[in-house]
């Protein structure tokens, strides 16, 4: 009987949240490493902190959202991060060509792929419509770059650094939010089983 009861448990959903949280943690580590590699290339970033505004800010969601809404909120931010990362890759390939294939370039591609998976995973979690934020307006790749008061090449470097910071920030937020989301779901399922 217990086995039958267990088989009725919606394990896949719980596992999906758990997997998404794990993927977000992994992605966070990747992004941190990607920034380290970028700092190795542009070592001035280790000594000086660029100022300026954040690239990804979301103010469209309610102030005290539910966890599901927070997941949706984070997902929107990640989607914006994805757009920024794609712009970054296009710009770097355009500038440097595809001849450079070091660890940075390899990890940059990995981050892009995993971020796509995370967006897909969180999208599947929110399929029932809970917590969805309104879609952001389409972004231009030059957004944020013109805010840096420097030469084009230097502004692009500062912008790249900021994009990587946003990636680190929002993947960390995603891992925490998804963990809470997973825990709440798990608790609800256990309560349902008890009832």
């Amino acid at each position: 009987m217990e086995g039958a009861a267990d088989s009725d448990t919606p394990v896949p959903e719980r596992s999906a949240a758990d997997r998404a949280a794990a993927l977000a943690r992994l992605l966070h580590r990747d992004c941190t490493r990607l920034l380290e590699l970028y700092k190795e290339r542009e070592d001035f970033l280790s000594q000086h902190a660029p100022g300026g505004e954040r690239l990804v800010t979301l103010a469209l969601c309610p102030e005290a959202p539910s966890t599901a809404e927070q997941v949706g909120h984070v997902r929107s931010a990640l989607r914006r991060c994805m757009e920024l990362l794609e712009c970054l890759i296009v710009r770097e390939v355009e500038e440097m060509g595809e001849e450079l294939q070091g660890e940075y370039e390899s990890l940059r591609k990995t981050v892009k792929d995993r971020l796509g998976h995370l967006l897909h995973s969180t999208g599947a979690l929110l399929e029932n419509g809970e917590g969805g934020c309104p879609p952001s307006p389409p972004m231009q790749c030059i957004q944020g770059q013109d805010e840096v008061e420097a030469s084009d090449s230097f502004a692009a470097k500062i912008w790249t650094y900021k994009v990587l910071l946003e990636l680190i920030h929002w993947t960390d937020s995603a891992s925490q939010t998804l963990h809470v989301f997973h825990t709440e779901k798990h608790g609800q399922q256990q309560q349902q089983q008890l009832l």
Binding site: D43, M96, F154
Partner: protein, 931 residues
């Protein structure tokens, strides 16, 4: 004051008037036209003059950056004077002001009004100039940072290097970098930071090299188009896309070329080629020129295949992907790869597309590759075709090399050598051996598997047997090889010569033999080998007279029998035989059965030689050593190996170890050891063991007897001196006993309790009364007397050691004294021989009359006294101390004599003293000379 002002105005007006009067008009219409990327400022003005003074300032601080006099002609069309100034500083860094005046030698016009181009330090933003410049390695450059109004400037860093900044204006700072090194992939960062270490602004400079490509070469692959390639030169260090090198070939863009691909193609062949490589830092041009036919680089042949494969040849065909090749006179190179059969062959012809490969070997796997080139004006080999595999067919094996070896008069083996790959022409299925004799009809044929290389032959009768052996493979049977049984010749029947190896080989030579119509055979095998012996042989043509058996087929240290046979139509005939070692070694085993046999003081060593297999060289002799603890002493070297015994003579009674070693030309073996302990014969033993000691003893007795007889007087004095009779001066007839001394009160012996004896003083020793009583019971002792107790004093020698002796020796006196009621004195003085010596030397108790002479008297005077004392009587009368006993104290001569229990003096029984006569024994008489 007003007067001074008026004077100054007048002077000023006067000066102006003087200038105007010089005819030099002030330049008019000065215009400034900046080129910001080029950092140039173009000036244009109107004037009638051709010589001008120029001044350029940084406007805000009015720092003069240029003060020069230039000669500028007016443009004939426009009438304008133009002059361009290249600023070391980006013109955006700060505002620049310019003024100009005409000059004619020392006369100058008035300055034109200042014209200013504004810098970017006016708007409220941060900037850094120049932006993203590309410059050659080693350049000098000035960067400026325009700080935002609200920020505090801290520093400018070039890469990691902090630079010293100079202030251009209120908000503009500049650094100058000299001899800049090449940049990294993404350029060198120049950063302007605030006091809070925040980045205010920055720029990137790309420092690199102009293109360094070289070595342009153009060739054709299809006899129509061209492919040009070159070598990449020095790294430009310019990685960003718009700074990378672009190429044009004969003016046409070469889009396929980049940092890695250094080739470019052209659809048509042109005899002259120019490649231009350009990047933002420079351009390089490479040229090449050649006729098309001189630069033919053929493509690889395709569809290579073998259309006809035989055992010894194959026909190879291929085709060309370019139709124009069919008319080209070309040369092709075939490379054949096979195990030990690789070769390279060249073929030529117009449009070559097939060749016949001759000289192949049957049943061999070949891998063929093919490449071709233009025969005329050969440029280079074309691309190589893919490897193609050919396996040739099999063919019948070659004839075998056969030999027959007789190990007895009617038994032997026929041997044949295995066929190499080149000779077997295919995997062998086996061998066929057939034998025939003159007396028997027909042939007996036996098939043997491929692993057999010998076959036993038994001769049933005396006639020769001819054996034919053939190898068989799938292609057929080889030509049979025949051999006739040679006559058996044992070594004993021949004079076998000794053969010495030379560098591990045998060098043989023999006299020519007329019967050797078919040549000779040299045969060699390990001597003494039986059964399946490794027989080896070599067939030689009849012209040969010598042969060298190579060291490859010989083993060092093995004795070989080498024979030379002559071959003819009949049986082989033995011409000569040797035995020898290709290389001699030391014997692997020592001599065997080493034994020895003692004969008196001689020892006969005998041994047997080791077996031939262990000799590993001709035994040249034996060496015999006498082994001691550390080394071997050579005692004999027997150079005749037939001698296998040796007699060692004249050995004394001791243990010996002998080592016998056999030696070859390579050296000695380890040696065999035998040991012996030399023993005497029985008669010798009797003689030495009994008679000799007896004789010695007898001689000693005689010598002693003679000696003592000669020295009998001395001996008598030494051992048995005359004992003088007592000389009694008074009535001394009363029984002898201890002298009872009644000391007068004033002369009582002061008894010292200190048991230590002072050897330097004479002393008295009390003798217990009771003891004396017991011994002299006939003496009356007044025990009830009120007079002081009698003390008996015994003339003793007292020492402080050897108490135990004293206890036992003088127990009669000391123990008795302990129980005395009259004297509570315990005398534990112990007398010992050692202490006695000292006592005598120091002098013991002396009779009063003796005290006159004192201890200084010669000791010899006390000898008699000593001897008397040795008679064990207690106190002796004073008169008995006579000076006529001069030897009294000399008791050294008494050592070894019977001694009393109280001393080491001679102990002469009391009776003897009383009756000295019994001492007249035979020995005494002897000593006395009495019969």
């Amino acid at each position: 004051m007003q007067g001074w002002v008026t004077l100054a105005l007048l002077l000023s007006l006067g000066a102006k008037r003087s200038l105007a009067q010089n005819g030099l008009g002030e330049p008019r219409g000065l215009t400034l036209n900046p080129d910001l990327p080029a950092q140039t400022l173009s000036l244009a003005w109107q004037s009638d003059s051709t010589l001008f003074d120029l001044e350029i300032f940084h406007t805000e601080f009015m720092n003069v950056v240029l003060n020069a006099t230039v000669e500028v002609q007016a443009d004939p069309v426009t009438g304008l004077h133009s002059w361009t100034w290249h600023s070391p500083l980006p013109l955006e860094c700060t505002s620049h002001s310019v003024r100009i005046r005409a000059r004619n030698q020392q006369s100058v016009s008035q300055w034109s009004p200042l014209q200013t181009i504004p810098g970017w330090d006016i708007p409220e933003k941060s900037y850094m100039f120049p932006e993203d410049k590309m410059i050659p390695v080693g350049s000098n450059m000035t960067f400026c940072c325009i700080v935002n109004e609200k920020e505090d400037f801290k520093e400018i860093k070039y890469g990691r290097q902090e630079m010293k900044a100079t202030r251009l204006s209120r908000r503009s700072y500049a650094i100058t970098v000299t001899n800049q090194p090449a940049s990294d992939n993404t350029g060198t960062n120049v950063i302007c930071s605030s006091q809070k270490f925040q980045i205010l602004t920055g720029t990137v400079v790309f420092v690199g090299y102009p293109p360094g490509d070289e070595g342009l070469v153009c060739e054709t692959r299809d006899l129509a188009s061209a492919e040009c390639s070159w070598k990449k030169g020095r790294d430009t260090h310019l990685r960003i896309k718009h700074s990378q090198t672009n190429y044009t070939l004969n003016g046409r863009d070469c889009l396929e070329a980049n940092e890695r691909k250094t080739w470019c193609s052209s659809k048509m062949w042109e005899e002259n080629w120019t490649l231009e490589a350009r990047n933002p830092l420079g351009t390089v041009q490479l040229t090449d020129s050649a006729q098309l036919t001189d630069r033919v680089h053929l493509l690889a042949p395709v569809n290579v295949a073998a259309v006809k494969v035989e055992a010894w040849s194959a026909t190879l065909q291929w085709s060309w992907s370019v139709a124009a090749y069919k008319k080209l006179e070309m040369v092709c190179q075939l490379r054949l790869f096979a195990h030990e059969l690789s070769s390279t062959r060249n073929y030529d012809g117009p449009g070559l597309s097939s060749v016949v490969l001759e000289g192949l070997w049957p049943d061999v796997d070949y891998t063929v590759t093919l490449r071709c080139g233009s025969k005329h004006s050969f440029w280079k080999w074309g691309d190589e075709s893919a490897p193609y595999r050919i396996h040739t067919k099999m063919d019948r094996p070659d004839a075998l090399d056969v030999w027959m070896w007789m190990d007895s008069s009617n038994t032997g083996h026929v041997f044949w050598k295995p066929l190499s790959v080149r000779k077997s022409h295919g995997a062998l299925d086996g061998y066929e051996v057939s034998q025939s004799s003159a007396e028997e009809d027909g042939r007996n044929t036996v098939s043997l598997p491929p692993g057999n290389f010998s076959y036993p032959i038994i001769l049933n009768n005396s006639s020769d047997v001819t054996v034919a052996v053939a190898a068989r493979n799938p292609a057929g049977l080889s030509q049979p090889s025949t051999v006739t049984t040679p006559a058996y010749r044992a070594d004993s029947q021949l004079s076998v010569s000794e053969l010495l190896g030379t560098n591990g080989s045998f060098v043989l030579s023999w006299e020519p033999n007329v019967s050797a119509s078919s040549g000779y055979v040299v045969e060699w095998f390990p001597t003494g080998c039986t059964g399946h012996c490794p027989i080896d042989w070599k067939k030689l043509p009849e012209s040969d007279r010598s042969f060298t058996v190579n060291s490859d087929s010989l083993v060092a240290g093995v004795r070989y029998t080498v024979s030379v046979y002559s071959l003819s139509t009949g049986a082989p005939t033995l011409l000569q035989r040797w035995q020898g070692y290709s290389q001699e070694m030391i014997p692997s085993q020592s001599v065997s059965e080493l034994s020895l046999n003692q004969t008196g003081s001689d020892v006969l060593l005998s041994w047997k030689a080791t077996e031939m297999k262990q000799q590993r060289g001709f035994i040249r002799g034996y060496t015999i050593y006498l082994a001691s603890a550390a080394h071997l002493d050579l005692i004999a070297n027997i150079t005749d190996p037939a001698v296998q015994s040796y007699r060692v003579k004249g050995l004394t009674l001791s243990s010996y170890k002998f080592v016998v070693k056999a030696y070859t030309s390579a050296g000695e073996d380890a040696g065999a050891t035998v040991a012996i302990k030399m023993e005497m014969d029985t008669a010798d033993m009797l003689f030495v063991g009994i008679l000799v000691p007896l004789g010695i003893m007898f001689c000693c007795i005689i010598l002693f007897s003679i000696f003592f007889y000669k020295k009998r007087e001395w001996v008598k004095k030494a051992f048995y001196p005359e004992i003088p009779g007592p000389k009694v001066s008074g009535d001394w007839s009363s029984p002898r006993g201890p002298l009872d001394v009644k000391p007068s009160p004033h002369s009582l012996v002061h008894i010292v309790k200190n048991p230590e004896w002072d050897f330097t003083k004479e002393g008295l020793f009390p003798v217990p009364e009771e003891e004396e009583e017991s011994e002299n019971d006939n003496m009356e002792v007044d025990t009830d007397s009120d007079e002081p107790a009698l003390l008996r004093y015994y003339n003793q020698v007292v020492g402080d050691g050897s108490h135990s002796n004293q206890v036992s020796d003088s127990s009669a006196s000391s123990t008795a004294s302990m129980g005395s009621t009259q004297t509570e004195i315990t005398y534990a003085g112990i007398q010992s021989p050692s202490s006695s010596q000292g006592a005598y030397s120091g002098g013991g108790y002396r009779p009063q009359m003796q005290s006159v002479t004192g201890p200084a008297e010669p000791q010899i005077e006390f000898e008699a006294d000593f001897q008397d004392d040795g008679l064990n009587a207690g106190y002796k009368p004073q008169c008995s101390w006579q000076l006529d006993s001069p030897e009294a104290e000399n008791f050294s001569g008494s050592l070894g004599s019977p001694t009393s229990v109280t001393s080491s003096q001679f102990l002469i029984p009391e009776s003897s003293e009383e009756k000295p006569q019994p001492s007249n024994t035979w020995f005494h008489n002897f000593l006395s000379g009495k019969s």
